[in-house]
Amino acid sequence: MTVDQRPTLEGRLRERLADKPLLLMTHLVVGYPSLEDNWVMLEAMDAAGVDLVELQLPFSEPIADGPAFVKANHEAIAAGIGWEEYFDLTARASAAFSFETLFMGYYNSVYRMGAEPFAGRLAEAGMRGFIVPDLPPEEAAELREHARANDLDQVQIMTPTSSPARLAEIGRHASGMVYCAARTGVTGRQTDLSQGVPEFLARCREATSVPLGVGFGIRTADDVRALRGLADVAIVGTAGTQAWLDGGEPGYRELLDALVAGTR
């Protein structure tokens, strides 16, 4: 355990929120389309002023992901991306860039690594926390303990189907930030942000005081802008990868600039 006064994930987010109303979190699947492309994407994120980046460790059974990320997971695995490659990239990214980094991945990877080594490796790679969509809070007690010892936060997930009692339970475990899924289903489809999202976010707000991120179907600068005043972090996943595949580096930078402009 470190004894210096490292700020928490929540503290870091609050610091950034002092300057602007909304933060931007982006995502990439490590190794897709390639590690070299990932680095160019990360440079672009940093240049655009992205606040937070989710770095996904590929898994063979990604049940919370939609078709685009499923394909990304499987292609990254086929290209030989394992823990070694993952932590090499994440450590370099945390050291080189000013955004914060989070682990995203499935529980089997964490389980096979072991809770303590997992937390240790994340901390060593300079990451601030982790999002594990198939690990419910009631199964994560041991992992959270090791996380705390390493100044890491488990990002909890709230959904529109969560009952008030469930939101309260998730809220009790929340630290760092909460990931609010703007709709049901998996990643990769459009969400109509006027449909019930403000009411849902109000329910999340009631359940926790940590910063709220909103993801699932956030694709455009307008989507991001629509979250101002409702949430603290706009989370853009599939749309980023799609922009890279469609428009290469120029198209990617263009989207990132527009998204960041949407936060200001």
Binding site: F59, S60, E61, P62, I63, A64, G66, P67, V70, K71, H74, I77, G82, W83, Y106, Y107, N108, S109, Y111, R112, M113, P133, D134, L135, P136, E138, E139, I157, M158, T159, P160, T161, S162, S163, R166, I170, A181, T184, G185, V186
Partner: protein
């Protein structure tokens, strides 16, 4: 008269020893709670089990018989061989039981639509018949590779009114179809029930599917006492996900003198890596995927392996958590048999008794054939014939390497060619 399943009772969180649990995206949390509550209520309602048994009698042909096999017994020269005939169910396999049970439950829950994964197509066809009968919309997810290999079952599912979606992710097989179902359900849960086809997945599926399939074991135990005047010394069942095995074992769980033998797919041999033996070969490792913790065939970093079996229904990375637990406890012994042994056992069953086990079920026969000669003639063994092979004529003919069949197909194809 519902089955007593105390060994199949989970501890809090849906655990059986260290296996089981519920590891799903948060969006499905309440949905699984709803299924758990509906299942618990149905279980406490004696009328529900009666409705299930009556429906299976009227619609599906239950109870299925236990058949004594004198010729096979003589040929093997050891224990007396009895066979539980799940092949005689409507649609030709034990899958019909679970499907109707979950269909009746979905009706109680007021659902309008059912979805299911299928490997070979057996569970998909069974689900499609149930959906037609009970009036549900029905979508079946099937790996694209399986869609190509098993067109006859796709044909029947579509004729029965189901939509069949070919899943093109991953290895394009059963496990990918399960992932696709979980993704559909994460969006459709308000009006849709996921009819999981085996004793895997998040709590309560392992327990619930075991409960419905326990109809096999409950019948078989009484039938053995009737026919032989005694319980069997050992019961053999093939293990894919584990539902037919769980079902027949459930009837004998409390009978300490009855050995339970689960038979996994040894494929081309455990050493070749081309198999689906998670428990028998010692190559499986504990992990968490597809919503539950069990023993999976995976690499050091938790990525799932490609599995292989001549029997599509056994070709799966994981195994029911209850079976994994009872294996660890020593209550169930796990064995594996190779494709070659399976083909021999299939031929033997057909020639000696005129019964036609599915390739999956022939795994249980193969283990019985291996072990029966070492038992004494006053001992009895019971083999679960989980399904019939005659309707899988394409795959069975391939497994038997039959030239006459190949020639027939060539001529038929030439007839269709323009």
């Amino acid at each position: 008269m519902t089955a007593q399943l105390s060994m199949w009772e989970p501890s809090p969180g849906g655990y059986f020893g260290e296996f089981g649990g519920s590891f799903v995206p948060e969006v499905l949390h309440e949905t699984l709670e709803e299924v758990r509550e509906a299942f618990e209520a149905a279980r406490r309602d004696p009328g529900f089990w009666r409705l299930y048994v009556d429906t299976m009698a009227e619609y599906a042909g239950r109870p299925t018989p236990v058949t004594f096999c004198p010729n096979l017994t003589r040929q093997l020269g050891g224990a007396q061989v009895y066979v539980k005939r799940e092949d005689l169910n409507h649609t030709g396999a034990h899958k019909a039981n679970n499907v109707m049970g979950q269909g009746l439950l979905a009706q109680r829950m007021g659902k309008k639509r059912v979805i299911a994964e299928t490997g070979a197509g057996q569970h998909g066809v069974a689900t499609a018949t149930m959906a037609a009968r009970l009036g549900f919309e029905c979508t079946i997810y099937m790996g694209a590779e399986d869609v190509e290999r098993q067109h006859p079952n796709v044909f029947w599912m579509e004729q029965l009114g189901a939509e069949v979606v070919a899943v093109t992710d991953g290895t394009r097989t059963l496990k990918d179809a399960i992932n696709a179902c979980l993704r559909d359900w994460a969006e459709s849960m308000a009006d849709t029930h996921y009819v999981m086809g085996t004793v895997c997945g998040p709590h309560p599926f392992p327990q619930m599917v075991t409960w419905f399939q326990s109809i096999i074991g409950t019948e078989a135990r009484a039938q053995m006492l009737d026919a032989a005047g005694a319980l069997p010394d050992a019961v053999y069942a093939c293990v894919g996900g584990g539902s037919n095995a769980s079902g027949i074992f459930a009837g004998f769980g409390e009978d300490a003198g009855v050995e339970l033998v689960g038979v996994e797919a040894g494929g081309k041999g455990i050493d070749t890596g081309q198999h689906a033996a998670r428990l028998a070969g010692g190559q499986g490792r504990t992990g968490v995927a597809q919503g539950y913790r069990t023993v999976f065939l995976q690499n050091d970093e938790g990525l799932m392996h490609d599995t292989y079996s001549c029997a599509a229904g056994l070709d799966y990375i994981g195994v029911g958590p209850i079976l994994a637990h009872l294996g660890q406890q020593g209550r169930i012994r796990f064995e594996s048999v190779t494709d070659a042994e399976v083909v021999d056992a299939l031929r033997l069953a057909m020639r000696t008794e005129g019964i036609i086990p599915a390739l999956e079920s022939a795994h249980a026969f193969a283990a019985a054939v291996r072990e029966a000669p070492h038992l004494s003639p006053d001992q009895r063994i019971l083999v679960n014939q989980s399904g019939r092979g005659d309707k899988d004529i394409f795959t069975v003919a391939d497994a038997l390497d039959d030239e006459g069949w190949r020639e027939f197909i060539r001529q038929r194809a030439a007839g269709y060619a323009r």
